[in-house]
Amino acid sequence: MTMGLLLAAVDQCATAPPSGFSFPCFQSILLSDVWFGPALTVVIITVVSQTAGVILGLPLALGKLSRNPLVRAPVNFYLWIFRGTPLVLQLIFVYDGTAQLTGNSPLLFFLNREMLISGAITLALNEAAYMAEIIRSGLQAVDPGQADAAKALGMTRWQTLRRIILPQAMRVVVPPTTNEYINMSKNTSLLLFIAVHELMQEAASFYSSNLRYFESLAVAAIYYLAITSALTFVQRRIEDRFGERQEQRAAVKPGFLRRAFIGAGTE
C-alpha cells in the first residue's frame, strides 16, 4: 500500500511537464501516507523537547538570579554558549562532534547513535537557555514586597519561591512560553541536518528524487501549518482562561491546564 502510493506519486510527478505547477503531482504527494510518521515525530519532539526546556530553564533562571557569583558564572557561560551559536551547529556538534571527540565512546550511545534522541536533547538544552531568560523576567516582574511578606510570615526561601513567587511569575511566563512551543515545532526542521526522519527530510526525499521542489515543499508547508495552527488553538485556549484570571490578579494555580480544557471548576 505504502509502496503503491509512493510509486503513484512518483509516476504522477514523473509524467508532469518539467516546468509549472502540476496539480496531479501535488495531489499525489499530499495524499501519500508517508507523511504521518514524520508529522508525529515533529509533534512529539516539540512537546518533549520544549517541556524539557521549560523544566531545565527554571534552575538556570534561579542560577542567573543567584547572589553567589560561583553559581552565576557557569549559568552565564551556558547561556552565552547556547544563545551565541546557531542551533544547527549545536545539533551537529552534539551528534557528530562529540562522537569524534570521544572516539565513539559507548557511554555517549544516545548522543552519537540515536539521532532522534540526540536531536531532542540538543533542542531541549538550547531551548532551556531561552526559557531561562523568559522565566527570569517573570520572576523579576513579581513585586519584591511579596517575598518580604512571605518571609515575614516565616516561610523559607524555597516555600516563598514555590508558593508565592512562582505562581505569580507564571502570569508573565506563560504567554511567551506558548510561543516557544510554536517556535520549537518549526525548529525541529533543523533535525534534517542530523538525518532525523521528520517533515523537512520527507519533503527533501520527495524533491531529491522527482525534482518537484514546489509541490514537495508545499505539502510539507501544509503539514507544518496544520501543526502550528493546532498549537495556536491550544495557545488561545490557555491564554483566554488565563486572561480572565489575570483580571482578578489571580495567577495560575496547579491544574490550570486541566481547567483550561475541561472547564473551570468553581473555586
Binding site: 505569580q168 489571580a250 495567577a251
Partner: protein, 271 residues
C-alpha cells in the same frame, strides 16, 4: 466596621521579664552609605512604640532589621531574649543563621507593610491560612476557623472568598493585620501602614491597630506619621534621623516639648 467582635489573640499583658525587643548598637550600611549609625532601642512587653522621622533617616530600614529582612553590619537584635538572624560563634563573633532558622524566628514576629503585600493569587482566606498551615503545620480546617474569627475581628468577615484586588486599601490592610495575627506573634512591626491609603480609609486601619494595643496588649513597633495615633496609643515616640535615635520620649513630651532641635524642626513640618 459595625461593632466588631473583641480581639482574642494571645499577648496577655505580663509585667516584668525580659524586654520583647532589644536592639543594641545596630549599624547598617549600603556600600558607602551608613544608614544606621548605632541604634539601641528596648521595647517592653505590651508597649507601643511609634517611630517617626524624615524619609531616608533610617526608620524603615531599622524596622526591617528587627525581623532580619535586612542584614546588619554590627550590633545585635534580640526578640524575647533570642538573637535574630545571627548566632554567636566561638569568640563571640556573630554569624548569620541558616535560612530555616531565620524563618522560624520570623514566624514569631508579625509585620504589616505600607503596600499591604497580600498575595494576589490567593483569596483572603487563603492569604490568612497560608502561614499557619504551611509554616506551623496547623490542620487546614482549624486554620480556617481561626481565620474566620480573625476576619470578623478586623471587620471584613464577608470577604473571605474574594481576591485581594476586590477589597479597598483599608480592607486589604486590615486583612494584612489579620494575616500577621494568625501566627500569634510576640510583637507586631508596622511599616508606615497607612501611608498608601486614601485619607478616608486611614481611620479604619488605625482603629484596628488601637484595638490591638488596648484589647490584647500587643507589643507594637510602628513607623508612622499619624500623630493622633501616637498621642492616643503610644507609650513612647522615637525620632530617628541621620541613622541615629534623636529623641525617645512619652508622646506628651515628644509632641509638646521635644528637647532636640531636630525633633522640633521635624514636628514643625508635620503638625
Amino acid at each position: 466596621m459595625a461593632s466588631p467582635s473583641p480581639l482574642t489573640v494571645g499577648g496577655v499583658k505580663e509585667d516584668g521579664g525580659a524586654p520583647v525587643v532589644r536592639a543594641t548598637d545596630v549599624h547598617k550600611r549600603y556600600h558607602d552609605l551608613e544608614v544606621l549609625k548605632g541604634i539601641s532601642l528596648t521595647v517592653q512587653r505590651a508597649e507601643v512604640v511609634v517611630i517617626m522621622g524624615p524619609s531616608g533617616g533610617g526608620k524603615s530600614t531599622f524596622l526591617r532589621c528587627l525581623n532580619h529582612l535586612e542584614k546588619i553590619d554590627s550590633g545585635k537584635i534580640e526578640i524575647n531574649g533570642h538573637l535574630i538572624g545571627y548566632k554567636e560563634s566561638t569568640g563571640g563573633k556573630l554569624k548569620e543563621e541558616s535560612d530555616r532558622a531565620v524563618a522560624r524566628q520570623r514566624a514569631e514576629i508579625g509585620m504589616v507593610f505600607q503596600r499591604f503585600n497580600l498575595f494576589p493569587h490567593m483569596t483572603i482566606l487563603e492569604n490568612i491560612i497560608e502561614a499557619p498551615v504551611h509554616v506551623r503545620g496547623i490542620p487546614r480546617e482549624e486554620a480556617k476557623k481561626r481565620a474566620a474569627e480573625l476576619l470578623e475581628q478586623v471587620g471584613v468577615p464577608e470577604k473571605a472568598s474574594e481576591y485581594p484586588i476586590r477589597l479597598s486599601g483599608g480592607q486589604q490592610q486590615r486583612v494584612a493585620i489579620a494575616r500577621a495575627l494568625a501566627m500569634d506573634p510576640k510583637v507586631m512591626l508596622f511599616d508606615e501602614p497607612t501611608s498608601a491609603l486614601d485619607p478616608e480609609l486611614v481611620g479604619e486601619v488605625l482603629e484596628t491597630m488601637k484595638r490591638l494595643a488596648r484589647e490584647i496588649h500587643m507589643t507594637m513597633v510602628c513607623v508612622t506619621h499619624e500623630v493622633g495615633f501616637a498621642r492616643e496609643v503610644a507609650d513612647r515616640a522615637v525620632l530617628i534621623d541621620g541613622g541615629v535615635i534623636v529623641e525617645d520620649a512619652p508622646p506628651a513630651t515628644f509632641f509638646s516639648s521635644p528637647t532636640h532641635p531636630r525633633t522640633q524642626q521635624f514636628l514643625s513640618k508635620i503638625l
